[in-house]
């Protein structure tokens, strides 16, 4: 890194768990475990940490341990800024695993200046950019926009009934995360779906609006019910919107992107029958696997959990856990590549970037779609699955597919 902070006296406590290591590579983590998105952020952070513990307990990567130095920024962007400075200057990390749209955006310029590759939980299309604006960001799963485009393709192929179908976008205008894919989806529909999918007026509901009912009602009055609706919220608000549409007896098929998928959308507790009912039939894009799926990539996770006395029955081992684990494991792969040419202490941000960009069709054991990067491609994949809630459980109804299949 160019920060010049390598010589400082404050060095993090060295070495993670396992013995016999001959060096460490430091990765920084900026997670939200207690903030606004803590419900999904905490398992994600847990997954990322677990991967590191696991890999170190296996003797590291070619004998080199990963040290993950992470802090909870509680979705407070100024805190994220401080943590970033600490990771850069105090710990001199080679790469960072980040979280929300807010912190990722806020650090976008700095990581370029500091040359630190950054994997974010946020999958905004603009992070694909390989140029000067986000040149050190990488997308480890299909971008929100690609997810939305894929959903359009899926609807075109699977819709039973007449065309054109109507589709509404449900999001908060002005919210970086929520609004992120919407223009791209509209453009795609206009260019590719003419006469088949008609995007009708947006349904704008703020993330903090606890009572979307009237907005939906008003919408119905002016526009009628759409056939499909794509939402871009996290669990809580998706749930409220779908529930209220259910109460209004809408026949719309709601499809949530990325963060709407996953177990937590149905509130836990024995008394959740009302929610199970209201959410029945809800669909979401699934970028990462559920822990209960029988996949080769689950082996290490199960092994790790067992070593810790935990199991996938635990509430906190869920799809977001897998997502954190997988994201971190891509760094693991990059380190492996880097170690072919460099010694551990030579691995800085630039080397990491070089290594990441050599990743080619990395098999993630079914936990997620294979990823590839190159200097002019920072989007690891465009592939995803679709899941549907039936009786409170997610069922995969469409195996991996991606927007590139259609071009």
């Amino acid at each position: 890194a160019c920060g010049g902070g390598g010589s400082e006296s404050t060095v993090g406590d060295d070495g993670g768990g396992g013995g016999g290591s001959n060096g460490v590579v430091k990765i920084g983590g900026i997670f939200d475990e207690t903030g606004a998105t803590g419900d999904v952020g905490a398992p994600y952070a847990d997954g990322a940490r677990s991967y590191v513990e696991y890999i170190n307990s296996q003797g590291g990567i070619d004998g080199v341990n990963i040290e993950l130095i992470s802090e909870d920024y509680a979705y407070d962007i100024s805190r994220a800024q401080q943590i970033y400075q600490s990771l850069r200057d105090r710990h001199d990390v080679s790469a960072i695993i980040g979280w929300g749209t807010g912190d990722t955006e806020a650090l976008r310029s700095q990581i370029i200046a500091d040359q630190i590759p950054y994997f974010s939980g946020s999958l905004s299309e603009n992070l694909k950019d390989t140029g000067s604006e986000s040149g050190f960001n990488y997308l480890v799963a299909a971008s929100y926009s690609d997810q939305g485009r894929a959903v359009l393709e899926w609807i075109r192929e699977n819709h039973e009934g007449d065309f054109p179908v109507t589709l509404a976008l449900v999001y908060e205008k002005g919210n970086p995360f929520s609004e992120s894919p919407m223009q791209d989806i509209k453009d795609y529909a206009a260019e590719q779906m003419d006469g088949e999918i008609e995007i009708v007026n947006d349904i704008l509901i703020e993330l903090s609006d606890n009572d979307p009912l009237t907005t939906l009602q008003a919408y119905e009055r002016n526009q009628g019910q759409p056939d499909y609706a794509i939402t871009q919220y996290t669990w809580g608000q998706t749930r409220n919107v779908v529930r209220d549409a259910h109460n209004l007896e809408w026949n719309t098929q709601f499809i949530g992107l990325n963060w709407a998928g996953g177990e937590g959308i149905v509130p836990s507790g024995a008394d959740n029958q009302q929610w199970v009912e209201a959410l029945d039939g809800f669909m979401a894009t699934i970028t990462h696997a559920f822990p209960y799926e029988d996949l080769p990539g689950m082996e290490p996770i199960l092994q790790y959990l067992e070593s810790k006395g935990r199991s996938i029955e635990d509430d906190d081992v869920n799809q977001k856990f897998v997502q954190g684990w997988v994201t971190m494991s891509i760094f693991g792969e990059a380190i492996r590549i880097a170690l072919e040419d460099y010694s551990p202490d030579e691995i800085d941000g630039v080397v990491m970037k070089e290594a990441i960009e050599q990743i080619d069709d990395l098999d993630l054991g079914g936990l997620a779609a294979n990823v590839s990067f190159s200097p002019d491609n920072h989007a690891g994949t465009d592939r995803l699955r679709l899941g549907q809630l039936r009786d409170g459980q997610w069922e995969i109804i469409q195996d991996y597919f991606g927007i590139s299949d259609y071009q």
């Binding site: 475990e33 704008l204 606890n210 009237t214 907005t215 809580g236 109460n247 937590g264 509130p267």
Partner: protein, 294 residues
């Protein structure tokens, strides 16, 4: 017409929750002249307590609810004793700041115990909405409406027929003079915080029934601020009326304005309205202003 009516009726019922939470603010303001920015956290904790009693300890809802009230009253009193009492003679803004600290403290406490995942509330009220012609109301909201009315009457009577109401206003007005006539500022604080916390618990239980409980529930504290101000910080009636009013305005906005002007207005509109109304009535609709004579 049916649509307009629907918007107004949903406005009223949603507003009843606002009114309830706003009531908590008004109580604290009346006794200490300060905003309790930890009100949302009291709501959150009340909600969690009731949930835990029902879900974990399998206590029938009605008893769990009553126990929750008791618990929250105690919580409010403990908070007063430990945090607010030492600040009795401090400037208002310090008290407000203390409640900000308190909100962080209570939130941390709630998170440590209950985590972040949304938990479903036991279905106390039927979840299928009641339909009357075109009009749809969730039973929860209907109940909250009824409960708000009961609370209004209860507190109205309390203030009318006990010395407490007078003592609270005296304390808020001039603590030194209040002590001089034999009002125990400490006791007034203690009781007020107990009541405010109780009201918050009721709000928490109702809200839990609507959207489930998770950490984000505490934001209701902020959402409801325009309501409190609109009604007038020291007016119980104001809190109730403004609660309904803001509910209705929000719904009318969602129903009529947003389709034209674009979304998101619903959340900002209370602030715009409040600012405008304050320009005409600087102490809200029912608030008593400061009196300055020379």
């Amino acid at each position: 017409m049916g649509f307009l009516l629907q918007m107004i009726i949903t406005g009223v019922v949603v507003g009843s929750i606002y009114a309830l939470v706003a009531l908590g603010f008004v109580l604290i303001y009346r006794a200490s002249g300060a905003l309790n920015l930890a009100n949302g956290e009291f709501v959150l904790i009340g909600s969690y307590i009731c949930l835990t009693l029902v879900a974990v300890y399998q206590i029938p809802f009605i008893f769990a609810f009553l126990l929750t009230l008791v618990f929250n009253v105690l919580l409010g009193m403990i908070v007063e004793r430990v945090v607010l009492r030492p600040l009795i003679n401090a400037p208002t803004i310090s008290v407000i700041m203390a409640t900000i600290g308190l909100s962080s403290l209570l939130a941390g406490f709630a998170h440590m115990i209950w985590g972040y995942q949304t938990q479903s509330y036991p279905p106390v009220f039927p979840s299928t909405p009641i339909r009357m012609g075109e009009i749809i109301i969730s039973p929860v909201y209907l109940w909250s409406f009824i409960i708000v009315i009961i609370m209004l009457i209860l507190f109205g009577l309390l203030f009318k027929y006990s010395k407490l109401g007078l003592a609270m206003r005296a304390v808020a007005d001039d603590q030194m003079a209040a002590s001089s006539v034999g009002i125990s500022v400490k006791n007034v604080y203690l009781i007020t915080w107990g009541f405010a916390s109780l009201v918050a618990a009721v709000g928490g239980v109702l809200l839990g029934n609507i959207n489930g409980v998770d950490a984000t529930m505490a934001t209701i504290g902020l959402t409801v601020l325009p309501v409190v101000i609109l009604g007038g910080l020291d007016s119980i009636l104001g809190a109730i009326v403004a609660g309904f009013l803001v509910g209705i305005i929000q719904n009318l906005t969602a129903g009529y304005l947003e389709p034209i002007l674009g979304g998101g207005l619903k959340e900002v509109i209370p602030f715009i309205i409040v600012t405008l109304i304050l320009m005409i009535k600087p102490h809200g609709l029912f608030g008593k202003g400061g009196i300055e004579r020379v």
